[in-house]
């Protein structure tokens, strides 16, 4: 029996399927604006792919048996999904929380704060899947998909999307103002983007960078996406998948608890 004053009782999760209604609310808004957001979420990674893949690719014969463009495209796909989710669950969630007070309005209904946070996380994961999958289709037409296993990429993007959404929501729930989000991107998202084996294999990096990479979710999602898209399936990918699942499990409670601490005074 847990006492009514204990920490565990105070933060017991209040979750039901009502979180889908928050997800659905975000989808209604998404349906109005997704096309105008394509530019940002899709053209930018495409430019990276073309500039680096074709430009830099001329000087790099091949990596791990792949042309440079083939090597970097799955990583750029995985990272574009990360960027989409991270922007959604930082800036956009913060606007709903702090500027528009959408969260305040919803907590006066039967929907709990936990469900609001879960709804936003689910929506962040959706965006990861959506923008990543558009990129996947483009890669298909460019002829860079060598395996039907690539059809599993959206599933991986949902899982990695959940993790990035959880991390972003943690930051959102403690950030006093919007300026602080640039720290999140500069200190966390950008380094991950650069050192997660997207542009070069991390095997050649100092050993501590290689160790560190295992503690970042992007590294694992890049590895899995590359394996599925190129068809070079390495059993080690199961370990990558397991780590992502572990991340999602460990990060399940912190955003819920931190958001309660912020809003319920």
């Amino acid at each position: 029996m847990i006492g009514k004053t204990s920490f565990l009782y105070k933060y017991r999760p209040e979750l039901s399927m009502l979180f889908w209604e928050v997800f659905r609310r975000n989808m209604i808004v998404f349906n109005k604006y997704w096309f105008s957001n394509i530019m940002f979420n899709f053209l930018e990674p495409l430019l990276y792919l073309l500039a680096l893949g074709i430009g830099l690719g001329l000087y790099i014969p091949e990596i791990e048996g792949l042309s440079y463009l083939e090597f970097i495209s799955p990583g750029i796909l995985a990272s574009s999904a990360m960027w989409a989710t991270s922007f959604e669950c930082t800036y956009n969630s913060f606007i709903r929380l702090q500027v528009q007070k959408t969260y305040h309005a919803i907590v006066s209904t039967p929907v709990s704060l936990d469900e609001i946070v879960m709804g936003d996380i689910a929506f962040g994961a959706f965006k990861s899947m959506f923008y990543g999958s558009i990129f996947l289709v483009v890669l298909f037409f460019l002829g860079y998909i060598s395996s039907p296993l690539a059809l599993l990429v959206p599933v991986v993007l949902i899982l990695s999307g959940v993790v990035f959404a959880q991390l972003s929501m943690i930051w959102t729930s403690v950030a006093p103002n919007m300026e602080l989000f640039s720290y999140y991107f500069t200190l966390f998202i950008t380094p991950m983007f650069l050192f997660s084996g997207i542009f070069f294999p991390i095997e050649n990096m100092p050993i501590f960078v290689q160790r560190l990479a295992w503690f970042t979710p992007l590294f694992h999602s890049v590895q899995i996406c590359r394996g599925l898209i190129t068809g070079q399936f390495d059993p080690l990918l199961w370990a990558n998948l397991l780590v992502l699942i572990l991340f999602a499990a460990i990060l399940f409670f912190p955003p819920l608890i931190l958001m309660r601490r912020r809003l319920i005074k």
């Binding site: 009514k4 209040e14 009502l18 209604e21 659905r24 609310r25 209604i28 808004v29 109005k32 528009q100 007070k101 959408t102 305040h104 309005a105 919803i106 907590v107 006066s108 209904t109 039967p110 929907v111 709990s112 809003l263 319920i264 005074k265």
Partner: protein
């Protein structure tokens, strides 16, 4: 469920307290709101009105004391309570990513209502609030008064047993305010229990069946507005501006004509007498004493006088 078991007491607070850090902002209040009444909390900014509202819908757990809403303790029954609640918060919390109709339909979903179920009701509520032709408008296209009326419409979407209105007309111009009052009166006719906080006396007198006067986290008195006015400020107030020695004249007049008044209050150079008897008689008597009066005003007593008398300060801080 517990929700249906409450008898007639919709809100019951006993010894309710709220501390933010070391600062206690609600300091042991008792409240009892009955089914069907419009109950007011009248108090200046910072009195603790919003804090009480937040305790009711779970944004702020009480520090101590008990708070029952619809017969359920707010600790541990939040979801069940909120199914039966409508809340209009002090600032508009409308969803500006959605248009007018979507605001209501999406809100209905939070109560588990499908759009097919809620749509006829949405139309009806927009009509009630005079917003029928605004179904597709964006939120930023609405005036302040319309936004407030939309917030009220949205709070009624679940057909609540208790409607909470936190300063529903603060920040509105007089015309928009009157329109909101008119609409709140039509809601009142539907016998929905209302809890209304305000710092406008006129609002409280027009809408509330019963109210508490609150200042600094404490309830000073409670009752029907007219009863409270009569009790504390009598029928009429004589307001005198004094050119010199206001304390002396307060004592002098009170000593001589104590039986004609219920009490007096000095605020700067202004002296207020709350009258039992005929104000004109007292005024004549005062003039015959050669009191140094710069102006005088004889008028019916109102809630402002009650507040002034109970706290020694004026209530309204903005027009």
């Amino acid at each position: 469920m517990a929700g249906k078991m409450f008898n007639r007491e919709v809100i019951c607070a006993r010894g309710l307290r709220k501390k933010y850090g070391d600062k206690e902002v609600v300091r042991g209040i008792n409240l009892s709101v009955s089914k069907g009444e419009c109950f007011g909390i009248l108090g200046p900014n910072g009195a603790g009105k919003t804090t009480i509202v937040k305790m009711i819908f779970g944004l702020s757990p009480p520090t101590s004391g008990t708070l029952l809403v619809l017969g359920m303790n707010v600790n541990g029954n939040q979801r069940e309570i909120k199914k039966h609640l409508g809340v209009v918060s002090q600032e508009d919390h409308l969803d500006s990513d959605l248009n007018v109709g979507e605001n209501l339909e999406v809100f209905a979903r939070y109560y588990g209502m499908r759009p097919a179920e809620s749509r006829p009701y949405v139309k009806q509520l927009l009509e009630l609030m005079g917003l029928s032709d605004r179904y597709r408008s964006k939120i930023h296209e609405l005036s302040g008064g319309m936004r407030r009326r939309l917030s009220i419409a949205r709070s009624l979407i679940n057909n609540p047993d208790l409607l909470i209105l936190d300063e529903p007309t603060t920040g509105l111009d007089p015309h928009a305010r009157r329109l909101v009052w008119q609409m709140l009166r039509s809601i009142k006719e539907k016998q929905i229990t209302m809890l209304l906080t305000t710092h406008y006396l006129e609002e409280a007198s027009i809408l509330c069946d019963r109210l508490v006067i609150m200042d600094d986290g404490i309830i000073l008195d409670e009752g029907n507005p007219r009863f409270l006015v009569k009790k504390h400020a009598g029928e009429e107030v004589l307001e005198l501006g004094l050119r010199e020695k206001p304390e002396f004249w307060q004592n002098e007049i009170s000593a001589r004509f104590g039986d004609m008044q219920k009490g007096s209050l000095l605020l700067g150079d202004s002296l207020y007498f709350y009258l039992n008897g005929d104000g004109k008689v007292l005024l004549n008597e005062i003039n015959s004493l050669a009191t140094p009066v710069s102006y005088h005003l004889l008028r019916p007593s109102n809630l402002e006088d009650v507040f002034l008398k109970l706290t020694g300060k004026k209530l309204e801080t903005e027009s």
